[in-house]
C-alpha cells in the first residue's frame, strides 16, 4: 500500500532523529518500568504478610522496647494461640550495600508462628540447639554462597561489636511471595551478652508476634492486649502484621510518592521530546503537505500521514522497551543488591507501556497535524524552492 509505504519512508527520512526519539522513548519506558517495579517490590512484604498474626510494639515508637514480662500476660489473652518475640538487630554484613533484614527472635515459637518458612527437621533441630546458630532464607544463603556450618560475622549497630553466627538451617518459602532473604537467630544470644555488659538493656523485646484463632478476631484481640498494658510504663500498640508492614512503608511513603511522580514525569518528558520531533518533521514538510492538499487530499489523509508516522515511532519504541525491560531489571536488581525481597517485572506493566506509547504518539501528532492542515495551500507552496 502506497499510503503505508509513504508513512514508513517518512518515518525514517531523518534516520538519526527518529532513532534518537525512539531511544528516548525506550529509556523513558524502561525507567518507568523499573520505578514501578521498585514500588511493587516495596509493597510485596505487605502482600506476603498474614492476617492471622498480630504485632505488638511500644505505643510511643517502634524504637522503644517492651519488657519481656509481657509475654505471659499476652499469652493469657483469649483468642491468642501463640506468642513469639524478637528484636530488630540491624547488623551489617561486610558493608551497608549488602543489606538484609536480621532479627533476634525466640526461635522455637517464631518458627511455629511462621509456617511459611519451610525448614528441614534435622536442620531445624540443629538450629534450635545452637545458641549461636542462625537460620537463613534460601536466596540469602545462595547469594553469599553460605553452607551449613559456615560462620558469618555481622557488625552490630544497635548492639555494638562483631557478632559471629553459625549457619545451621536454611528455609524455603512456602509461597512465591515469601521473603527468602531473612537472617534469623537466637534472641538469647544477644540477651545474655546484654545481661553481662548493659544489664539495663537486657530482657527487653522490640516486638511481640501473636498468632490468633481467626482473622476476624484481630481487632478484638488487639484491643484486649492493649487494654492489658493501659496506664503501664510501656503502653502497647497492637495491629495486624499487614498494618504493621504498612506502617513501615508509611515511613517511606514520601519517597514512594516521589518515585511515583517521577515515573509519570518521565512519560511527560518523552511526550515533549516526541512532540518536538513531530513538530520539526512537519515544519520541514509543510510544502509537501501543501502539494498533497493541492492534489485533493483532505485533513483526514494529511492527519493519517502525520499520526501514522508518530505512532510508528512510538510502536517501535514500545516494542524495544518491552524487549529490554527484563534485561534492564536484571541488571538493576543486581546493582541494588538485596534491598528487595523479590524484584519481578509484572507483565501487566506492558499494557501500560502500550497505552503510554499510544498516548505519546497521539499527543505528539496533534499540534503538527493541526498546523499542517490549517496552513493555506498557497502559503505552504511558497515555502518550497
Amino acid at each position: 500500500m502506497l499510503f503505508f509505504k509513504l508513512i514508513i519512508k517518512n518515518t525514517f527520512r531523518h534516520g538519526m532523529r527518529t532513532i534518537l526519539t525512539i531511544m528516548g522513548l525506550v529509556i523513558a519506558l524502561i525507567a518507568f518500568g523499573l520505578l514501578r517495579t521498585v514500588i511493587k517490590a516495596w509493597y510485596s512484604g505487605v502482600e506476603a504478610s498474614s492476617s492471622t498474626r498480630l504485632i505488638t510494639r511500644n505505643a510511643i515508637s517502634l524504637i522503644f522496647p517492651l519488657p519481656l514480662s509481657y509475654k505471659d500476660k499476652i499469652k493469657s489473652v483469649e483468642g491468642v494461640t501463640a506468642v513469639s518475640y524478637g528484636n530488630w538487630f540491624g547488623g551489617i554484613y561486610i558493608d551497608q550495600k549488602h543489606f538484609f533484614a536480621n532479627f533476634a527472635v525466640d526461635p522455637k515459637s517464631y518458627l511455629k508462628l511462621y509456617p511459611e518458612y519451610v525448614v528441614d527437621p534435622a536442620q531445624k533441630e540443629a538450629f534450635l540447639k545452637d545458641r549461636r546458630g542462625f537460620l537463613a532464607g534460601r536466596q540469602l544463603a545462595d547469594k553469599y554462597g553460605w553452607k551449613l556450618g559456615d560462620t558469618v560475622t555481622l557488625k552490630g549497630t544497635i548492639y555494638p561489636g562483631d557478632w559471629d553466627f553459625v549457619l545451621r538451617a536454611i528455609y524455603k518459602g512456602r509461597e512465591p511471595s515469601t521473603d527468602e532473604m531473612q537472617f534469623i537467630f537466637h534472641w538469647n544470644y544477644v540477651n545474655e551478652y546484654l545481661k553481662g555488659v548493659h544489664s539495663s538493656r537486657a530482657d527487653q523485646v522490640g516486638f511481640y508476634m501473636e498468632g490468633i484463632e481467626r482473622p476476624d478476631m484481630a481487632a478484638q484481640v488487639a484491643a484486649k492486649i492493649d487494654a492489658l498494658f493501659k496506664n503501664s510504663l510501656a503502653e502497647t500498640l497492637t495491629e495486624t502484621e499487614k498494618a504493621f508492614q504498612l506502617s513501615f512503608i508509611n515511613m517511606t511513603e514520601t519517597i514512594l510518592a516521589v518515585i511515583q511522580a517521577v515515573s509519570f514525569i518521565v512519560i511527560a518528558i518523552i511526550m515533549a521530546v516526541a512532540a518536538n520531533t513531530m513538530a520539526m518533521t512537519v515544519r520541514e514538510r509543510i510544502g509537501e503537505y501543501a502539494i498533497m492538499k493541492t492534489l485533493g487530499m483532505g485533513a483526514f489523509r494529511i492527519g493519517a500521514l502525520i499520526f501514522g508516522e508518530s505512532l510508528t515511532i512510538c510502536a517501535i519504541g514500545c516494542g524495544l522497551g518491552i524487549a529490554l525491560t527484563y534485561p534492564a531489571a536484571r541488571v538493576f536488581a543486581h546493582a541494588v543488591g538485596s534491598i528487595f525481597p523479590s524484584f519481578d517485572v509484572d507483565p501487566r506493566l506492558f499494557i501500560f507501556y502500550a497505552a503510554a506509547s499510544f498516548l505519546v504518539g497521539v499527543v505528539a501528532a496533534i499540534v503538527p497535524t493541526w498546523r499542517a492542515v490549517r496552513v493555506p495551500i498557497a502559503e505552504g507552496l511558497r515555502r518550497i524552492g
Binding site: L2, F3, K5, L6, K9, N10, R13, G287, E288, I291, M292, K293, T294, L295, G296, M297, G298, A299, P376, I377, A378, L381, I384, G385
Partner: protein
C-alpha cells in the same frame, strides 16, 4: 452552424489582497475575463504582479476576497474546503516551477499518488500510471527517485502526475522557470501536445517569452490589472 461552447472559466470582479502586518496589500483588483475550453493561455507580467495569485484562485487553492470564479459552470468560491479539495482532485492538474515531487516516492509512485483519491483498483491505477508515464516518455525511469532524475525529467514526472487523473484544466506556474533550454523545450512541447491532442485547457504563468510563444493566447498582468 454550431453553437459556441460556453467558456470553461469565467472570472468576474475578483479582488484579492494580502495582509502584511497591519497593512493590507492589494494584489488583484477587479479582474474579469474568461477562458475558452481547450485554450492554451499564457499569463505574463513582471514578478510580483499577482500571476501566481490569480492562477491559484482559478485552480481553487486560494480564496478571493470577492468576485465569482465559474469553472465548468460551477462557482468554486461557494465551495467548502472539503468540497474544493474533491473538486481539485477531479478537475485540475498542477505543474509547479520546482516540480514538487515527493522525494521519498519513486516516479511511478509520485504519479500514482493522486489516484489514491479515486476508487480505482490497484491494477487500474498501475495501468493509468504506466500509460501516463509512456506519454511523457519516462517508462524507463519509473523506479527512479526524484533525486535520481534531471530537472527536465522531474518536470515530466510532475506533468504525468498532473494529467493522470484526466483533469479538464492544467495549471502551470512557471513550469520552465528552473529548466535549461533543451529541457524547457521538451516540457513546453509536451504541454502543447496535451493541449492539442488531449484537448486540455492549459493556463500557464510565465515570464519567459519563448514559453509564451507556445501559447495561443497571451495576457498580461501588471500591478494587479489584466491587459
Amino acid at each position: 452552424m454550431s453553437r459556441q461552447k460556453p467558456p470553461i472559466a469565467e472570472i468576474s470582479h475578483v479582488y484579492k489582497s494580502y495582509r502584511r502586518g497591519d497593512q493590507i496589500v492589494p494584489v488583484l483588483e477587479d479582474i474579469t475575463f474568461s477562458i475558452e475550453e481547450g485554450e492554451f493561455l499564457a499569463l505574463m507580467g513582471p514578478s510580483g504582479s499577482g500571476k501566481s495569485t490569480l492562477l491559484n484562485l482559478i485552480a481553487g487553492i486560494d480564496r478571493a476576497d470577492s468576485g465569482t470564479i465559474m469553472i465548468g459552470g460551477l462557482d468554486i468560491t461557494t465551495l467548502s474546503e472539503t468540497e474544493l479539495a474533491s473538486w481539485r482532485a477531479l478537475n485540475v492538474g498542477f505543474i509547479f516551477q520546482f516540480y514538487n515531487l515527493i522525494p521519498v516516492l519513486t516516479a511511478f509512485e509520485n504519479v500514482e499518488l493522486p489516484l489514491l483519491l479515486t476508487g480505482l483498483s490497484r491494477k487500474e491505477r498501475a495501468d493509468h500510471v504506466l500509460m501516463t508515464l509512456s506519454l511523457v516518455n519516462l517508462l524507463d525511469r519509473m523506479d527512479h527517485y526524484p533525486s535520481q532524475l534531471s530537472g527536465g525529467q522531474q518536470q515530466r514526472v510532475a506533468i504525468a502526475r498532473a494529467v493522470v487523473t484526466d483533469p479538464t484544466i492544467l495549471v502551470a506556474d512557471e513550469p520552465t522557470g528552473d529548466l535549461d533550454r533543451v529541457s524547457a523545450q521538451e516540457v513546453l512541447g509536451l504541454m502543447e501536445r496535451l493541449n492539442q491532442e488531449l484537448q486540455k485547457t492549459v493556463i500557464m504563468v510565465t515570464h519567459d517569452p519563448r514559453a509564451a510563444s507556445k501559447a495561443r493566447l497571451v495576457r498580461n498582468l501588471e500591478k494587479g490589472i489584466l491587459t
